[in-house]
Amino acid sequence: MNILQLEIQLVAVVVAIACALPGTFLVLRKMAMMSDAISHSILFGIVVAFFYTHDLSSPLLVLAATATGLLTALFVELLYKSRRVGEDAAIGLVFPFLFSIGVILISRYAGNIHLDTDAVLLGEIAFTPFERLTIGGLDWGPKALYVMGGILLLNILFIGALYKELKLATFDPALAAALGFSPAWIHYLLMGLVSLTAVGAFDAVGSILVVALMIGPPAAAYLLTDRLSHMLLLSAGIGVLGSIGGYWLAHVLNASIAGSMATIIGIVFVLVYLLAPERGVLALYRRRQQQRLETAVTMLLVHIRSHQHRTEAEDECHIDHLYSHLKWDPQYTRRIIQHCQKEGWLYLKDDLLYLTEKGKAHIQQVAE
């Protein structure tokens, strides 16, 4: 691994963590698509600021883009609050509009300047090490590392300082409002943070994959834990996994790094979705099977208990026509009986089924 590769991976890791932190709150607050909206509409801010400064590395670009992100959030809220369109439609109206104006401005007035929509949409993390930070003639490393590091630090500070407030405003906005701190403030602070992070990251991964980094890791983490603090850490961890894994996948395939990162995050999500210990599809399936078995066993044992040693037992408890009384499939009935015999709850005598002492104790316990 050479120094260039190391630097690219470092940038990727910092971007991934910086995105995963605010992304966690977006997922929990059911506003995931705001990341999509903001990451697209910041193009407008970047273009306008670029026309003003004619310098792609001006900090004014970051400022204007962040402001556009906030403006997007504001427009969406105004539209939605007017109660004339739904929230999803509001999002779907605002960002394509701002994005379109951005594209139109670029093609009308910036034809021969280096600012094309491909770069904004797709980004190229492999180029980040070529822009260096030099102070006093010394090379301090890739500039993107410092920009994103600063944004990451800001995200950590923000979440650290307002952890309690964020938590309350996320899980119980009504209580938060009743206790006197405004959920609106929290909302716009968070939106500002998302915008800033998206602006910082689009250079590296492009505006569409910012969404993958913001939403993918928290979505997977959400299936793994019920604690906010764990979810934040897990998201960051999955983000790191996605960025390093993505880098090497891209290396092996000689393909787009950002695309590979999103692909790895997608794979991680699918694995978690299938295999998560409590909420995974597999775990849910097993639990359902277990519950069905338990219900069937209880039904069978109760049936035997109420009919054994009585005159009708000849018919009701007979191993060959038991299934018709329970209205089960014959094969299924045999499987449940076998299970109960193996557990030592039932025994067979002259083709009739009887409860063992253990079986009686078991059904007593379940019935209670």
Binding site: V27, K30, A32, M33, S35, D36, H40, L79, S82, R84, V85, G86, D88, A89, I91, G92, L93, P96, F97, F99, S100, I101, V103, I104, S107, R108, G111, T117, D118, L121, L122, I208, L209, V211, A212, M214, I215, G216, P218, A219, Y222, L223, A250, L253, N254, A255, S256, A258, G259, S260, M261, A262, T263, I265, G266, F269, Y273, R279, V281, L284
Partner: protein, 378 residues
């Protein structure tokens, strides 16, 4: 050149005719399907489908090596469809919410599509221009053949909508009721999604991945403001889509360096803004105006009734009340001057002496009518 000449000239131009027809078809069908999606609260699904089409386009090219629209669009439709089904499955079977699933599927599929694109760019026969156009759309590359495919596909989709109109209507407004009637709601849902996928795929070549989502949201959101009836909304939405398509592509062909896709989206958004502000009954400005008018009417009624009571108090309908007395008798915030002016204009009040007002016989009659109707209501 005269306006008509420009139009004739435009229609003789092969490229432009294709662009115009393409935008017209695309606007119409995305308006119709968008209206159904809006009512199903699935407006953002279009965004996900269009992004998720990318890997399908890339794979179709990798396997077939062909740039034929039909093959690429089939790939796009397949992966858009798979993405949608996966997203719905995730929402149904886990605690992941719609918005998260939409964002996740959108970005991951797109990312995977980018990985595939880099493969394509390395191939010697990589005429990537053919694929690039799907990102932002390149209306100018539309061929007559493409337009024909668009027309056939959207005709099919529209026919299905017409054929299953009743079913969709019940399903959209009351899924539970539809289910109780024995409609196969799951299958209707998948059918609706599949048609949305086809619609979006139709538009990819003209407006591109990023902006196609706007075409299923904007015309529908605009149409929703004008009517409460589904039939009208769907037709209006289709019409708005067509207007946006035609106006946008015309503008972009007349003005140099005005890209087609974004221009169409901007026109559609302007239609939305106009509808939000001015649509009767739902428009914001319309409501504001009606409210002002009602307020004025209420002020007039209050002032008239107060004058009547004052007059009855004096047992003289023509009693002359000084302005100060009227002001004291009226509740605040009734815009005294404006209200009295209105009363005078209607001939219900006159000013026999400067600073003094009295009811006219017509005014007395009107006031009594108001009082009767109020008491009738109470």
């Amino acid at each position: 050149m005269e306006g008509l000449d420009i139009l004739i000239h435009l229609f003789r131009d092969y490229t432009l005719r294709n662009v115009l027809l393409g935008a017209l078809i695309l606007g119409g069908i995305s308006g119709v399907l968008g209206a159904l999606a809006l009512l199903r609260r699935q407006s953002l699904l279009g965004d996900t489908i269009s992004h998720a089409a990318l890997p399908g386009i890339a794979l179709a090219f990798l396997f077939s090596g062909s740039k034929s629209s039909l093959i690429l669009l089939t790939g796009a439709a397949l992966s858009g469809w798979l993405a949608t089904l996966f997203m719905l499955q995730v929402v149904r079977s886990s605690r992941i919410k719609d918005d998260t699933a939409l964002g996740l599927v959108l970005s991951v599929f797109f990312g995977f599509g980018l990985v595939l694109l880099t493969f394509i760019q390395k191939r010697p026969d990589a005429a990537q221009a053919g694929l690039d156009k799907f990102l932002f759309g390149q209306a100018a590359t539309l061929m007559a053949e493409d337009v024909r495919i668009m027309a056939i596909l959207s005709g099919l989709v529209f026919a299905v909508v017409l054929l299953l109109w009743k079913e969709f209507k019940v399903f959209l407004f009351d899924t539970g009721f539809a289910e109780s009637l024995g409609f196969p709601t799951r299958r209707l849902d998948v059918l609706l999604l599949s048609m949305l996928v086809i619609t979006i795929v139709i538009g990819l070549q003209t407006v591109g991945v990023v902006l196609m989502s706007a075409m299923v949201v904007a015309p529908a959101a605009a149409a929703r403001q004008w009517t409460h009836r589904l039939e009208r909304m769907v037709l209006l939405s289709g019409a708005f889509g067509m207007i946006a398509g035609v106006v946008g592509s015309l503008a972009s062909s007349v003005v140099p360096r005005l890209p087609t896709g974004p221009t169409i989206v901007v026109v559609a958004t302007i239609l939305v803004l106009f509808s939000l502000l001015f649509a009767p009954a739902r428009g914001i400005l319309w409501n504001w105006f009606m409210q002002k008018r009602n307020q004025k009417e209420i002020h007039v009624q209050i002032a008239l009734l107060t004058l009547l009571e004052l007059a009855e108090h004096h047992h003289d309908f023509r009693h002359q009340h000084s302005l100060q007395v009227i002001q004291a008798a009226l509740p605040r915030n009734t815009h005294l001057k404006r209200t009295l002016q209105e009363l005078r204009e209607r001939g219900w009040v006159d000013e026999p002496r400067k600073g003094y007002l009295s009811l006219t016989p017509a005014g007395v009659e009107a006031a009594r009518k108001f009082r009767q109707s109020r008491e009738g209501k109470a």
